[in-house]
């Protein structure tokens, strides 16, 4: 130990004093008189003040450095000691690492997904300068708005646009659908996306670089086998030749959450879609790179100023409602889907935090158990003069080390977990979610691991070192057993948290089952769907109309088909169209007189095919043709909303749309379910296909038996080159509406299973520990003639009592959770009797198993052997 520490000055003073005294003594011994000797000693020491000050300074610095070194060496020792301790008895550390890896891994997975959904930047240089531009709340921009703004902007170095369309790709054997991104000519150069092969196209935003295409790296690999010779080849898209000029950089997917196969210039849209530029009201998703030194606020001001000069804006300004814009960070998901994603992320993060808390309680309990075995080690070291803080630090080093090892495993789990999450997105959806862990996730996991290590390690460490030294040394470990209230508390905590999760999972599973059994208001069973999209073949409107008329006619004639009709959208199919409407009698300038309605476009026979009853009026007929008076069929909710208490048929309604068109109601259909399960009464309108042409339609056919194949053949015969998927049951299409619920129930179920597993491990470990400490007692009891059942009952009672307390608390918490999420549950009472019966049964069964396993093993021991072993 370094003496004289604390104040370095005292050490210096003492040293100098000794030196002078000894020098004086020496000089006196040599015959000098004492007074002279003292003067001579100080003379030889020279520049006294200055020297002492310099010595003080050096000593201070030296002490600081030595403290640091000692501290670091201490940590080194702690880590080495921790490694030795953990390796010496690896069983418990292995269980701890496993438990923590599951807990931390669940967190890393969800964090990784949430970060990917909400925060991840686009994979280009300087991505923080990218911003997205929206019109209105979070709508894409009409093409003319985009072109006008992109051509004039100065706050953006480049303003790019992207929009997904489906087109047919001509191949040797027919046509296959591909996802094409229509992108502005400055898309690649403006965002900073390089070509992995060949080149990208470039030019002013609206420029036409010709019939060229850039392949996405993924499509190049999967469809063309990464063929280096693909550049220069010609692709037939919508029956028109496009030259492949390059392959995009491997990391680039899209400026949005899409997964395009090819990128084609925006100027090609007319050729690809088969409609004149003016009639295509498709909007564009706009992403720009801010010019050096410009802010999003400046960009917004500029965009709004530019937009105010647009012809389309003039009308809006006249009505006193100028169009607003938004300029927002280009990170994570686009704003329109951000809200639900944020909510889901927060909910899931809270959920996995709960799982990690269970894991921590579990591990803390295991360590407490071990601490009891190490009481003597601690007592010996305390007796040897090691400070308690030092021991706590060393135990914490052990737990943080364990947590870090678990963290490494957790990252591996997160990689697997995020793949699983990404796989929950239905394969058919051309959506790209980048959920894979990256540096941010690694940092999060490391931080979480250290925090976890301290969290679960602190209480056991404090407990282990709070030893009555003499008592522990004197007492034999066996006699030291006291029922630990702390250990029971941890067990209660994990059982109750696990119960809450199980209850939640049960409620959501019930909800999902109810949703599946729900009556949508029409008879979907026996209806087959066949999606058709004539834009894949670049049909113009006249050809498209003729084609769909032929489809309806042929489909009805297919053997086994009892009724057939076409519709633009499938109810609960995941897509919707909506616009505000009002009675024609109301004031069109009064925005408040409009209310939101959703609509679909259908052909005559739609209601009969789906067996969706018409309550009044008539179905569409061939007489409702393009030039005839515009007609509409409304549902009961719309009739009630527009003309309460009146007869709806014969009334006229007005849509908030270009030209404020008016439609006469010819029929009233029964209410059905349209956008989401459990939605309230939703005003819904049906327009006749003949008066509202659409390029993509779904053929619904009510069939007897397996007519699906014949249906597809009949349509294929009309145009063999048109890409067609297989016909499928309508109920499968309706499943899209269930995707969020299914993902939610799946995740909750997974985490609940994890919590149950953790609780089982915890109960097992605590019981095993307790039984091990009482082997002798059990042996004595058995030897004295106690029946095995009596001993078993004793053990069961002790542990299951604790489990019971946790269960009751957990059920109360679960009821609270149920009430909290009641609005998300479909047709399930938050206190659903089935869930609240099943959860305790499952939990008690698992707990009993976890207690019985170690208990029976202890009982199987020969009492003599057990006693001798002690």
């Amino acid at each position: 130990m370094e003496g004289g520490q604390g104040n370095p000055r005292r050490g210096v003073d003492e040293e100098v004093r000794l030196h002078i005294e000894q020098r004086v003594a020496q000089l006196v011994a040599e015959g000098m008189n004492r007074e002279w000797a003292e003067a001579e000693a100080w003379r030889r020491f020279a520049r006294r003040e200055e020297t002492v000050a310099a010595l003080y300074h050096t000593a201070r610095k030296r002490d600081r450095r030595m403290r640091m070194t000692t501290w670091l060496e201490g940590w080194g020792q702690d880590v080495r000691h921790a490694c030795r301790v953990l390796v010496r008895a690896p069983a418990l550390p292995a269980v701890v690492v496993l438990v923590l890896a599951l807990g931390i891994g669940a967190n890393a997975t969800i964090f990784s997904a949430a970060y990917g959904l909400l925060e991840r930047r686009l994979p280009v240089a300087d991505a923080d300068r990218l911003a997205r531009v929206y019109r209105g709340d979070h709508s894409p921009l009409p093409m003319e708005d985009y072109l006008a703004i992109a051509g004039a902007t100065e706050t953006f170095g480049a303003l790019t646009a992207e929009r997904m369309i489906r087109v047919g790709l001509g191949a040797e054997d027919g046509t296959e659908p591909v996802q094409a991104a229509l992108v502005s000519a400055n898309y690649f150069t403006g965002l900073g996306v390089a070509a992995a092969r060949g080149r990208v196209f470039a030019g002013a935003p609206g420029a036409d670089p010709g019939a060229v295409a850039v392949l996405s790296h993924r499509y190049w690999r999967t469809r063309f086998g990464a063929d280096p010779g693909v550049v220069g080849r010609t692709l037939r898209l919508a029956d028109r030749p496009f030259t492949v000029v390059g392959v995009a950089a491997p990391e680039w997917v899209s400026s949005q959450a899409w997964r395009p196969d090819v990128f084609v210039p925006l100027a090609s849209h007319a050729a690809l879609l088969g409609v004149a530029p003016g009639s295509w009201n498709g909007s564009l998703y706009v992403t720009g790179r801010l010019a050096e030194g410009r802010t999003r606020a400046q960009a917004l001001a500029e965009v709004e100023a530019l937009a105010a000069r647009l012809p389309s804006a003039a009308a809006a300004v006249a009505t006193g409602q100028p169009v607003r814009f938004r300029v927002e960070h280009a990170r994570g998901l686009t704003q329109e889907v951000r809200g639900p994603a944020t909510l889901a992320s927060v909910f899931l993060l809270a959920l996995v935090a709960l799982v990690l808390l269970i894991a921590c309680a579990n591990v803390a309990n295991l360590l407490l158990a071990r601490a009891a075995f190490r009481t003597r080690e601690m007592a010996v070291r305390l007796a040897l003069g090691v400070t308690r803080w030092r021991l706590v630090r060393q135990l914490l080093t052990e737990s943080v080390l364990l947590a870090l090892v678990a963290g490494v495993a957790a990252v591996a789990l997160a990689v697997v977990g995020s793949r699983f999450l990404a796989s929950l997105v239905p394969a058919g959806m051309p959506i790209h979610l980048s959920l894979t862990p990256d540096a941010a996730v690694l940092a999060f996991t490391a931080l979480l691991s250290v925090a976890t290590g301290v969290l679960f390690g602190l209480v056991p460490a404090l407990r282990a070192t709070r030893t009555d030294v003499q008592g522990a040394l004197r007492e034999d470990a066996r006699g030291g057993y006291r029922r630990s209230r702390l250990r029971a508390a941890f067990l209660v905590a994990q059982v109750s948290l696990g119960t809450i999760l199980l209850t939640g999972a049960g409620l959501f599973a019930q909800s999902l089952r109810n949703a599946r059994d729900l009556d949508p208001g029409f008879a979907a069973a026996e209806v087959m769907d066949l999606p058709i999209d004539v834009s894949l073949r670049g049909y113009d409107e006249a050809r498209g109309r003729a084609f769909y008329d032929a489809v309806a006619e042929r489909a009805a004639a297919v053997a086994g088909v009892r009724a057939a009709a076409l519709a633009n959208l499938v109810p609960l199919g995941g897509a919707n169209r909506g616009a505000p409407m009002q009675p024609a009698a109301a004031d069109p300038d009064d925005r408040t007189a409009f209310q939101q309605a959703y609509y679909n476009t259908v052909t005559p026979g739609y209601f009969a095919t789906l067996q969706l009853p018409l309550r009044a009026g008539r179905d569409f007929t061939p007489a409702d043709e393009a030039g005839a008076a515009p007609v509409v069929i409304v549902n009961e909710a719309a009739a009630q909303a527009l003309w309460p208490g009146e007869r709806a048929v014969g009334q006229v309604l007005r849509m908030w749309d270009e030209g404020m068109p008016e439609y006469t109601v010819v029929g009233v259909a029964a209410d059905a379910v349209y956008n989401a399960l459990g939605e309230g009464p939703t005003p819904f309108l049906y327009f006749p296909f003949a008066q509202d042409y659409r390029t993509d339609m779904v053929l619904h056919a009510r069939v007897a038996g397996a007519a699906g194949g014949r249906l597809r053949d009949a349509v294929a015969a009309l145009d063999p080159a048109l890409p067609l998927e297989a016909a499928r049951p309508m109920e499968a299409d309706m499943g899209y509406a269930l995707v969020p619920a299914r993902i939610g129930a799946g995740l909750l179920g997974g985490f609940a299973a994890l919590a149950l597993l953790l609780a089982a491990i915890g109960i097992y470990a605590v019981t095993a520990f307790m039984v091990a400490r009482r082997t002798a007692e059990i042996a004595v009891r058995t030897a004295l003639g106690a029946r095995r059942w009596d001993v078993l009952r004793l053990i069961l009672r002790e542990t299951l009592g604790t489990v019971g307390v946790g269960l009751v608390l957990g059920l109360a918490g679960g009821a609270g959770l149920g009430v909290l999420v009641a609005s998300q549950l479909y047709g399930v009472d938050p206190l659903d009797p089935l869930t609240f019966t099943a959860v305790p049964v499952v939990l008690l069964a698992v707990a009993t198993g976890a207690v019985l396993l170690p208990a029976l093993r202890a009982l199987a021991l020969d009492p003599v052997v057990a006693l001798r072993r002690e």
């Binding site: 370094e2 040293e15 000794l18 030889r44």
Partner: protein, 113 residues
């Protein structure tokens, strides 16, 4: 009697390190050791020696520990560390080369031998 030699700048560290290779010593002991070994031909500045010791301690060339002298006084005993030993070897080698060169230069007479 010849005028005492004042210690050349930079050589004090080397002398102190060398002395400590004999045994650990406290400050005054070290002063006396150097005075006696040099047969009082060298005049050390006591303050400079302490400053050198502190500096070298900070650099890890010597280590210090409180102990008790023969007269039962508390004193700080300095010892040379392995790092200090390496430094001493380096400085000694340098000094020998230096001294050799200087000696050669000043003893050479014009016109050679």
């Amino acid at each position: 009697m010849l005028e005492p030699l004042s210690v050349l700048k930079g050589t004090l560290d080397m002398l102190a390190l060398k002395a400590l290779t004999w045994r650990p010593m406290h400050g005054f002991e070290l002063t006396r050791f150097l005075e006696e070994r040099s047969e009082h031909r060298m005049e050390l500045e006591d303050a400079a020696l302490y400053q050198a010791l502190y500096r070298m301690e900070k650099r890890g060339l010597v280590a210090a520990e409180w102990g008790v002298t023969e007269e039962n006084r508390r004193a700080r005993f300095y010892s040379i560390t392995p790092k200090g030993q390496r430094e001493l070897d380096r400085q000694t080698a340098w000094w020998l080369r230096y001294a050799d060169t200087v000696t050669g230069l000043v003893t050479e007479s014009p016109g050679g031998r």
